[in-house]
Amino acid sequence: MALPELSFEVLGQLSKEYLDHAHRVAGDIKDEDQLKDYFKLVSMSVQCLQYLKTNYPLSIAQDAEITYQLVEVLLEETLNFDLAEAYLSSIRERLQNHHGSYSNWSVLHEKMKFEFLTLYVLPMKRDDKFHYRIALKNCDEVVHFLAEWKYDKNVTGSWLLIFQYVNIRLNIKLNNVKRALSQFQEMTVVGKGSTEWKSFIILCHVNFYLNQRLIIPSYLLKALGSLSCDQVGAKLYGWKLMLELIIQIYKDSDITGNLNEFKEFFAEQKDALKDDQDSVTLEIGPSVHMHIQLSSVFQYKHLKNVLLLLQSVSYLVNCYAKRANFSTKFLPKVSLTTKKLISSVTQSGPHSLSFYDSRIEWYRTIQQFSEFYQKWEGLLLTGQIKDTRGNTFLTQDYAALLSVISHQIGSMKDGSQICDSYNEIISRNRTSNEVRMVALLNAYIIRVSLMSGSVQKQEQLIHCNSLWLQITNTLEQTDLHLNPTWDCTVVVIWLISHFESFTAYPLPVSDDERSSYIERFKVYYEKNKFEGNEVDNDLNDSGVKKLKKSLLMQILLNYVGGRLFEQDLTVISQISGICFRLARQQKFLILEYVVGLWHLMNCTVAMKRKEVVLVTATLDSIVKKLSAGEQSSEPAS
């Protein structure tokens, strides 16, 4: 006897109930048993849909709907990617054979939605190169098919844009940077689709340039600058402001203007920002919409927190100055806020467990940044890095860099060992350009200073030359040369390794090289040298070639400039006096000592008797501390 069965409607409804319920209770999970129960609910939801697929004669529309739901759950909650793929191929085949053609627009739409799942959502979940490659190849075909479509371009046009975008994302995942950039360029320049969509592409495009640390072309900067809040809406506009801020921060430029823009934006768009929606819906073309989730900037609470972090980073090198020590105040605040966000993450629901999971991972990134910059602030304020072990920093890069720097500080010996450690960082494939550059410069300095005592000068010279070549290449090929701090540092390091007044073993140099570096340095010196007696902590470090007023940069710039360019003895001793005072703030005894020697020399020549006595006393005590430190082989503090 045939038993009555659950109807199609009831099963569909049940599946939805199980999943919705699971997402409602996901925040209550406290132990492994409850975790299992959560997945029981998910499993029931999946089984209802599977049952529908196997036991009911579904119309193509019903089949499409059920399959879409089924694949979405599988991709969100399970690792059954092959199963999801099997469902996707069978429904694509059914749609393909339907009417034998695409005469019916809704069938084309359906087909494209499944292509999107197959070529974008699924590979992103799988996250491996093999599947990215396959998806890219198939995506190329879809793009080609849509581009060649001769009939109603209105409809296919929107899909063409979506798959061009998917294509870029796949290329990014495969590290095909050049291809991704040229595709972005095409989409930005040709500029098809709605205003919102075009803006979205511009924002992604700029964000990608920044992630790659490449120089953003001017047409793109212009396009970014022209996005207005009225046109794109508050959420996308917040993203725009954020990118413009990061552009400034990557250049170490003044961000006062950016912060004011944010202030204005918050005041005007208060209500639009506080709706707590983490997504926007973009109309791409007739009846084709895309949902963009970007909680980092779309949600006010996140935007504010990230802004505080970025502001701290920008002012980090000024942390010693009372008027600019934002990082000291803000970084602990960022950590605290993020901790609160983590503990209340499930209150943002209902969401799937994996949604909460990835949200928390993102919060952890912010925490790690905050922790990293607090360590760096310690380096700036105390000349030391505390506890580099046991930290889970963002990247291997950052952890390794902190560890080597902490070994380097105050270690009078072990030069070549530290060079080796830097070398490890340098030769690693994935090291970011910045970290590589810091490692290169530090390693170079150590190598050159090793030469004075070395018997194998020739060999050391080869090392130095090779390091220097890498330094100039890295500077030229990345956005670092847009940053005056990095550029000026490279120039200063060159000078102090090639001039007798700065090193015991100046490296050989040609006249052309010498004058070219001196010219480059002169520009920085003229713009940034001490004016008058006092060091001003002017926050508005604007203008070309203007440097952030970090202690070390100021000391180096004025020390080198004072010795190379200044003639007047009064001026020189004034400069050396300020340098000496700054060096004392810097808390690197050995630097203080060397700068102090210069000041002592100037005071002696200028016959400033009183000053000579004072400086000599200070230097005596430094020498004592350093010798004591050396004996106990403790880092000087």
Binding site: H21, F39, L79, N80, Y120, L294, S296, T395, I405
Partner: protein, 139 residues
């Protein structure tokens, strides 16, 4: 007597050597800040409503008696393996009464769950295998 403090020590006397003992702390690495902004980006399609109506009939009138609720358990599909959360850890904090996750389900959903005897074991909840394909900020 020495002419200046530390003259006869092996302390560095020039700026280059002194720098080799301190490290360049004014070069603050900032890589990854922009990726922090766009890494949570998720793009998805908005499904148009033309097909949405299929499953929206109400359940109020459903008769549960006589319906073999265990039918769906008979599906012999590939075993499901669920994603184990990475960052989210249930800390075993069971203060207060532990809530049953099934509270609030409709009666038909509850009976279906009981009858199907759906089981999920810890070994069915796994972490995504680690790929050596981390998308990185490096070019």
């Amino acid at each position: 007597m020495s002419k200046y403090p530390g003259e006869n020590t092996n302390l560095p006397k020039n700026i280059l050597e002194s720098l080799s003992n301190v490290g360049l702390n004014h070069l603050v690495p900032k890589d990854g800040l922009s990726a922090m902004i766009d890494s949570p980006l998720i793009a998805s399609l908005v499904r148009s409503s033309d097909l949405d109506t299929i499953t929206s009939s109400t359940m109020g009138t459903v008769q549960t008696t006589g319906i073999p609720l265990d039918t769906i358990a008979h599906i012999n599909q590939e075993k499901l393996v669920f994603k184990r959360p990475k960052a989210l850890s249930h800390n075993g904090n069971t203060e207060g009464q532990k809530k049953s996750l099934f509270d609030g389900l409709s009666s038909i959903a509850k009976s279906c769950l009981d009858l199907t005897n759906c089981e999920v074991e810890s070994e069915d909840i796994r972490s995504l295998p680690v790929e050596n394909n981390q998308s990185s900020v490096k070019r």
